[in-house]
């Protein structure tokens, strides 16, 4: 019997980022307007697999998700063994735009979650004319930290286990166990210090409160969606951010937490399909 193949296809490419070769893994499904997806801190592009298997999405969108260097199946650059990994606003913008260019994504809509929901604001600010819009999931221009990240990378605490245990509380209690634990599995698999290095960007290098008001939403529409159970990037953080951006729209999603696309795909599509529809109609 033929295997039930999913429509997702994964490939590797080498990009030069910050002057160094980086072997990058990406996967994609569908055809149409490019939708470039950015995973959360300490995780990888698998979080978007449900969207890539949803014909309501893939009939109109070419959905692409890549793993940042150090994440998932993307390698850290050669020499990594003596470095402390730190994501910055500059390196995050560079990687995202490099992937879009390498894959010839024309005016992609960029959708990111958590730290991905943060960086899309800077992308809209800096590269709005080159984008078809941004979607920030669990995104805001700034938020208050809620734990000490030094616990994430030390020899007496398992980084994957503690990372998963910390973020487990950000998954809505209504989310199905199957998807809750799949979401947490990605955190458990994260390389040593990678989650912590991502949070350097999230906490130390991405306070965008000084610039989000300058985003031109006529050029680059901004949609922000946040789950009611997200106490990391709270609904209040998201609504405040949207209020600061003329023309931005914010939605608080019921019975969802910090990982809407992976923790409860059915519930998430109720919210994301209308947004994708809006972006498609604006583009046409």
């Amino acid at each position: 019997m033929a295997p039930a193949l999913e429509p997702i296809v994964g490939r590797y490419m080498t990009l030069t980022l910050a002057g160094r070769d980086c072997r990058i893994y990406f996967e994609e499904a569908g055809a149409g307007i490019p939708l470039l997806c950015l995973h959360t801190a300490g995780a990888d592009g698998r979080q978007f697999r449900h969207l890539m298997c949803d014909p309501a999405v893939t009939d109109h969108w070419r959905v692409v998700a890549f793993d940042l260097p150090w994440h998932g199946k993307s390698n850290p650059p050669v020499g990594w063994q003596d470095e402390e990994y730190r994501l910055t606003t500059e390196s995050y913008v560079e990687a995202t735009m490099a992937v879009a260019e390498a894959l010839s994504l024309e005016r992609p809509v960029v959708m990111g979650c958590s730290m991905g929901g943060r960086i899309v604001l800077e992308l809209a600010h800096r590269h709005g004319a080159a984008l078809g819009g941004v979607i920030g999931l669990e995104g805001a221009d700034h938020q208050q930290p809620w734990y000490d990240t030094t616990w994430l990378h030390r020899p007496d605490v398992h980084g994957g286990e503690v990372g998963a245990a910390l973020v487990s509380g950000l998954v809505a209690p209504q989310s199905p166990d199957e998807f809750r634990w799949e979401t947490l599995w990605a955190y458990m698999q994260s390389g040593p210090g990678v989650f912590k290095g991502d949070l350097y960007f999230y906490r130390e290098d991405s306070d965008f409160r000084d610039r989000v008001a300058q985003i031109d939403t006529a050029l680059c529409p901004v949609h922000l969606l946040t789950g009611e159970y997200d106490f990391s990037c709270t609904p209040e953080d998201t609504v405040r951010t949207a209020a600061a951006i003329p023309g931005a729209e914010a939605v608080v999603m019921r019975e969802l937490g910090h990982f809407p696309m992976s923790e409860n795909p059915e519930q998430f599509r109720r919210y994301i399909l209308p947004v994708l529809e809006r972006l498609r109609s604006v583009r046409a």
Partner: protein, 123 residues
């Protein structure tokens, strides 16, 4: 809700296995009421409620009684779904030597959430 903690934890073989390397005494304060919880090899060896002078503990988790009550609801609200949702808002406090807590965080969080099963029965 903590009176039946030993039974709730010790009958959960997967939870006991997750905590099998943990021996620790920690404090859960429900309002003014302290509960010293003694863990041995992942099993709850005892819950001592009420003031106990000069009794050492490694870490403590404290919150008002009404917030614990909301935390232990079968389907808690966003504000009370997780202990760190409560600490971020300043409702709960976690203090002391956090190393055994963080090294066993999933275990301790699932132990603290175990009384939700009783709320499920009642509802």
């Amino acid at each position: 809700m903590l009176e039946r903690l030993a039974e709730l934890v010790n009958e959960d073989a997967a939870l006991v296995r997750r905590g099998r390397f943990l021996d620790v005494d920690f404090l859960v304060e429900v309002g003014e009421a302290p509960h010293l919880i003694r863990i041995r090899g992942g099993r709850v060896a005892g819950v001592e409620s009420g003031p106990a002078l000069m009794r050492p503990w490694r870490f403590a988790i404290r919150a008002p009684a009404e917030d614990w009550a909301r935390f232990w609801e079968a389907m808690p609200a966003p504000s009370h779904a997780d202990i760190f949702a409560m600490t971020k808002r300043g409702v709960a406090v976690v203090e002391g030597d956090l190393a055994p807590l963080m090294a066993n965080l999933r275990y301790v969080k699932e132990l603290l959430a175990a009384p939700r099963r009783l709320a499920g029965e009642a509802g």
